[in-house]
């Protein structure tokens, strides 16, 4: 064999990348427009993931700040499906449990609350009146929006504290004791308004009065409608299991317990489900972008027959031509993916800032965005690249 056979045609990877980049630079506007298709698809997906992660992180932070150690005890159902009553001993028994750090019972009253005595009785505004102990805000991790909660004075005088939704319904923005409302034809001074209770929103449309006043003025049922229990963080499950037999040793099955934080966790999970749906829509946008790139590359191959012929004449193998066009397509879509990441992250930042939520774009999205671009580009480049490689050099040079 002569020396000729030892001469190999070579194109090192860095040269290949330069050739691919050169190919894109030659048609800047077209390259930019086709990359935009991928950028929008990936941007939409990153934004969906980012926004949902930010919202979830916010919710999880909220759950963490509220604590996952709040439990509620309420009457359950007996074997015949009738609602049971908690025994009157339930509250002291639970309060005496070793791992219970605090408890606040809720007693339901049949009275309604009105802005004045002249309001028609049927216009209750959906506000319930309940008697409770003075540690309720602490137990349910909330604080006062205005005024103060029930205290020793409230145990002797008719004072009421409104939940956030109840205050809004009654159109009482602030509480200073000067505003009087009507409960069971008795005037009560509004001494406080609670902030919204995030962990259990059922407390928001309620009005709270003290137990002694409720016992004195109204026929208070002796059994608690609900008991909020804060357990030691490490023994939540243990306490949760012990609550029914403690509340009602005679019939533990008639006692229902729940953990409000799990409702919020379920909501966080539900948001995740919604994200999947939106991601599906983003994937459709990406598919359209991929077809756009394939289309542009096919046109590019037809237009660049002369260049392909020249490259073959200069020593490019079919493989070099295939790889060059694949690399161009992949480079184009990877740039699209990277731009999409910036767009998506920007949209997430704007969303998060507008809602005072933490700005989070998950690490997997940061890696996946350009990687998805690379993959899409490579896939949509396969057909045009093969078409380019199959072109007869003679035909190509005649173009």
């Amino acid at each position: 064999m002569s020396t000729a056979t030892r001469d190999r045609a070579r194109l090192p990877p860095h040269e290949l990348l330069a050739v691919a980049g050169q190919g894109l630079r030659t048609r800047k506007l077209r390259a930019a427009l086709s990359a935009l298709g991928i950028a929008i698809g990936i941007g939409a997906m990153v934004a969906v993931v980012g926004v949902s992660s930010s919202a979830q992180a916010n919710l999880i932070a909220e759950i963490d700040s509220l604590g996952t150690n709040l439990l509620t005890v309420s009457p359950g159902q007996d074997d015949f499906g009738n609602t049971t009553n908690l025994p009157t001993t339930a509250v002291p028994m639970i309060g005496a449990m070793r791992d219970v750090e605090g408890d606040a019972p809720i007693y339901q009253l049949s009275q309604n609350i009105y802005r004045t005595a002249f309001v028609p009785t049927e216009e209750t505004g959906g506000i319930g009146v309940e008697a409770t102990s003075d540690n309720l805000p602490k137990v349910v991790s909330t604080s006062m929006a205005s005024g103060h909660f029930l205290n020793s004075v409230s145990n002797r005088y008719p004072e009421v504290v409104l939940g956030s939704a109840a205050a809004a319904t009654l159109q009482i923005p602030t509480a200073n004791g000067n505003i009087l409302v009507d409960i069971g034809n008795q005037l009560f001074a509004v001494v406080g308004i609670l902030k919204p209770v995030a962990i259990d929103s059922s407390l928001n449309p309620e009005a709270f009065i003290s137990l002694p006043v409720a016992e004195r003025l109204f026929a208070l049922a002796p059994d608690a409608a609900e008991i909020y229990v804060v357990s030691d963080q490490n023994t939540v499950n243990y306490v949760s299991n012990l609550l029914p037999p403690t509340a009602d040793p005679a019939d533990p099955s008639g006692v229902s317990t729940s953990r409000p934080s799990s409702v919020l966790q379920a909501r966080a999970a539900a948001q995740g489900q919604f994200t999947t749906l939106l991601l599906g829509l983003g994937a459709v946008a990406l598919l359209v972008g991929a077809i756009g790139i394939a289309n542009i590359m096919v046109i590019s191959v037809l237009e660049r027959r002369g260049e392909i012929g020249l490259r073959r004449a200069l020593g490019a193998t079919r493989r070099h031509v295939t790889i060059q066009f694949l690399a161009e397509s992949a480079l184009l879509a990877t740039i699209g993916g990277a731009v999409g990441l910036v767009i998506g992250a920007g949209a997430t930042e704007i969303y998060a800032a507008s809602r005072s939520e933490p700005f989070i774009v998950p690490l997997y999205a940061i890696i996946a965005a350009p990687a998805a671009g690379l993959l899409i580009g490579a896939l949509s480049g396969v057909y045009p690249a093969m078409k380019a490689a199959r072109l007869s050099p003679t035909e190509a040079l005649r173009a």
Partner: protein, 222 residues
């Protein structure tokens, strides 16, 4: 021997015979014009000599490499290292400078860019375009563009230069200069095969191959 064809046929789909039973030998450093009317098989002859196409039947050997036995990779390697092409349509890339167009002639040789550019500068100097290195092809005249294309073929110091109607797009003055340049290059030892339909151009070559309907009908020397 630089190139040899023995009983070569080249058929295209539809039984179109572009070459029929062509046998010819071209020695190293020879300057040969292939002349004939349109459709006589001149360009096919050039693509076979340039290893861009294999013959349908017969034997072709280029720089010691038998086309029937060589792999695509071997043929690409031969083109990359030892064959320089010059086309009628120049095939220059507008997005690149003149220097990089010439340096790109050595792209597939595995030579570093720095060395390619150095060789390109030398080649441009040789074709008298050292003052145009940073220009874009569209800023040059037709004659200058063809000089750039010649420099691209030269930069790698090829054993064979294959030129397909290199003066076809040029006025007679520029065409004459280009021919002179090609002869000069060939004087350094490279084999030169030039395709033309112009008998006057062919007359300036010491050897002329006459083609007609895919057949070699004449081989004139002197």
């Amino acid at each position: 021997m630089s190139v040899s064809l023995s009983h070569v046929d080249k058929l295209y789909p539809g039984d179109v015979a572009a070459l029929r039973n062509v046998s010819v030998e071209i020695a190293r450093g020879e300057q040969v014009a292939v002349v004939g009317p349109s459709g006589s098989g001149k360009t096919t002859m050039l693509t076979v000599l340039g290893t861009l196409e294999r013959p349908s039947t017969g034997e072709v050997s280029v720089e010691g490499l038998n086309l029937s036995e060589a792999s695509d990779l071997d043929l690409a390697g031969l083109r990359a290292h030892r064959i320089g092409f010059v086309f009628q349509a120049f095939h220059l890339q507008e997005s690149m400078s003149v220097l990089d167009n010439v340096a790109n002639g050595m792209l597939y040789m595995g030579v570093a860019q720095k060395d390619r550019r150095a060789a390109a500068r030398q080649a441009l100097d040789r074709v008298g375009l050292s003052h145009r290195v940073d220009f874009r092809p569209k800023q040059l005249s037709g004659g200058e563009r063809q000089r750039v294309a010649i420099a691209r073929a030269l930069a790698k110091r090829p054993a064979i230069v294959l030129a397909d109607e290199p003066t076809g797009n040029l006025d007679s003055k520029s065409g004459g200069e280009i021919l002179e340049l090609l002869h000069q290059i060939s004087d350094d030892g490279a084999t030169l095969v030039l395709i033309t339909h112009d008998e006057r151009i062919a007359a300036s070559f010491p050897r002329r191959l006459q083609m007609h309907d895919g057949e070699l009908i004449g081989d004139h020397r002197g």
